[in-house]
């Protein structure tokens, strides 16, 4: 099985980081993975995206035309990629930043006010991880142990305090109804 994820939003929202945590989780579970960022000046606040592929087969092209999962953290990203999502796929919307609804009825849509929740829970920069928590939960793939290990691989040792906060954010996402 192969699942392709596209994280899209503004630079600075931590999209590349959330993709990395997801990819590491795949690696820990012995899957084939690839992680491909958009790069260039947009990392200073323009649009940014990150493609992650997790597969039982060797990963071919790391570039995604039609994602199974879209995580949209701003309106331009939803506008741009909504139509590309595979039928039967999943769209996660940060509903505190995107007011409109998804127009398609052939995909599973989850609205999570991630930025708002992040602010309320003392982790204003971790809306991205709330969405990853929710994403894993919707696929029934939130394994606490693996998540923690994956986070440990992505957060450097000198920011150990951030590890707990990231974990908390993911749990908020997981538990959000």
């Amino acid at each position: 099985m192969t699942r392709e994820y596209l994280f899209a939003g503004f630079g600075g929202q931590g999209l590349l980081f959330s993709g990395k945590v997801l990819a590491y989780k795949g690696l820990i579970e012995d899957k084939n993975v690839s992680w491909l960022p958009s790069y260039g000046p947009e990392m200073r606040g323009g649009t940014a995206n990150c493609s992650v592929i997790i597969s039982d087969e060797p990963v071919g092209a790391p570039i995604i035309s039609n994602p199974d999962v879209l995580v949209a953290m701003n309106l331009p990203s939803l506008d741009k990629y909504e139509a590309a999502v595979k039928p039967g796929g999943t769209i996660l919307v940060d509903s505190s930043l995107i007011e409109r609804k998804v127009n398609r009825d052939d995909v599973n849509v989850y609205y999570v006010p991630a930025t708002k929740l992040a602010g309320e829970n003392g982790a204003p920069t971790l809306a991205n991880m709330i969405l990853v928590g929710k994403l894993l939960e919707t696929y029934g793939e939130y394994d606490a142990e693996t998540v923690k290990t994956a986070l440990g691989k992505c957060v450097s040792a000198r920011h150990a305090d951030l590890l707990e906060l990231n974990l908390k954010a993911m749990e908020i996402g997981r538990d959000f109804e």
Binding site: W35, P37, G60, A61, P62, I63, K153
Partner: protein, 354 residues
């Protein structure tokens, strides 16, 4: 998973170089390869190595020339416009028969071009790039694992043949993360009795030089170098073959283009089209023998490139123009989609069936 880490292609090159015993890196910032410099800046001081941000690409390649003259494994990295600047130094390295590793993480050109991935430095890499008759060994990784593996191989080949190895990567492979294992067996650098390490008052002085004012001598130097190149072409050409045995439509693609093409070949096979792939891993020497194998069985070859058609010339030469060769491309930083390549395969298959 135990021994694998998730790493960017550029970082994998840097780590592999350190494993290969490279303790000297010189570079100048340019997107999309700066992670190599950043990695080296962090690691080299901790292992007694040298990281130096040079005043220019030109200075960097000449610092490489200096370290190589002194007999140590050394590298520099850049992206397309920077490689043009280094080309003078690369020619001198060739003329002085010095080993070195140069990484080109290609971006769109010409001129300042763009910063997105490209393969349009193929001619520059395989034909030399600088002035004079010479070649580099050109290695084209298609994964982060290969970024590491071919970096190590590049150092080994450079030392063995006393010439420059170039890693011809692109922005995508450089920027993407994949799991990579660094479990390599590495050949140590051979003795370098020609190096300028000081005579110790025990031998005649060594001279590292590319100047030969006598045309008779310079001619012999060039001919000898090309005899060495012929041996390398015979021995070191390398390609991956994928579903080639019964392939009627053969894709030729390297690096990121080959990754995309593989998806398309799989899709075509699922539709019953006999498609296959040749992925050159060495671009110089070009894996001619692999291409010659499909003369007679292939009805069409499609060269998939992130250029206006550069490798396609080598494909035609290798197949002696006995198989029709077409081009499927995107340029300027764009990458062909698997769908685009699949459509090209399908069209070729339909034409071949007529």
């Amino acid at each position: 998973m135990a021994d694998k880490v998730l790493m960017k292609g550029n970082e994998a090159i840097a780590e592999a170089a350190i494993l290969a015993g490279c303790r000297h890196y010189f570079g100048y910032p340019i997107t999309p390869q700066t992670e190599i410099a950043a990695y080296m800046a962090k690691r080299m001081p901790k292992i007694g190595g040298t990281f130096l941000q040079a005043e220019s690409e030109i200075a960097a390649i000449n610092m490489v020339y200096g370290v190589s003259s002194a007999g140590k494994r050394v590298m520099t990295s850049s992206s397309s416009p920077g490689i043009s600047l280094k080309s003078e130094g690369i020619s001198y390295l060739a003329g002085a028969d010095l080993p070195a590793l140069v990484v080109n993480c290609q971006r769109g050109g010409p001129g300042l071009g763009g910063i997105q991935p490209s393969q349009s430095d193929y001619f520059q890499a395989t034909r030399g790039g600088g002035h004079g008759d010479y070649h580099m060994i050109v290695l084209a990784p298609a994964s982060v694992q290969e970024m590491a593996q071919l970096t190590i191989r590049g150092f080994e080949l450079a030392d063995e043949y006393r010439m420059t190895s170039m890693i011809l990567a692109d922005g995508t492979i450089g920027q993407m993360m994949e799991p990579v294992s660094f479990d390599f067996e590495i050949k140590e650098a051979p003795e370098k009795p020609w190096a300028t390490t000081g005579t110790g008052m025990k031998r005649k002085h060594n001279v590292v030089n590319s100047l030969y004012l006598s045309p008779e001598v310079l001619e012999i130097k060039n001919i000898e170098r090309y005899e060495k190149y012929a041996k390398i072409a015979e021995k070191e050409a390398l390609a991956e073959e994928y579903m080639l045995d019964d392939a009627e439509i053969v894709i030729a693609a390297f690096g990121i283009a080959a990754r995309v093409a593989k998806n398309a070949v799989n899709a075509a096979r699922a539709e019953g089209i006999k498609a296959g792939l040749i992925r050159p891993i060495t671009l110089w020497p070009f894996p001619e023998k692999t291409f010659k194998k499909v003369i007679g069985t292939a009805k069409q070859i499609i060269s998939v490139e992130l250029s206006m058609g550069q490798m396609i010339e080598d494909v035609k030469l290798a197949t002696e123009c006995k198989v029709p060769v077409s081009l499927c491309y995107r340029v300027g930083g764009m990458i062909p989609s698997p769908e685009q390549v699949y459509a090209a395969i399908k069209e070729a298959a339909e034409k071949a069936g007529e």
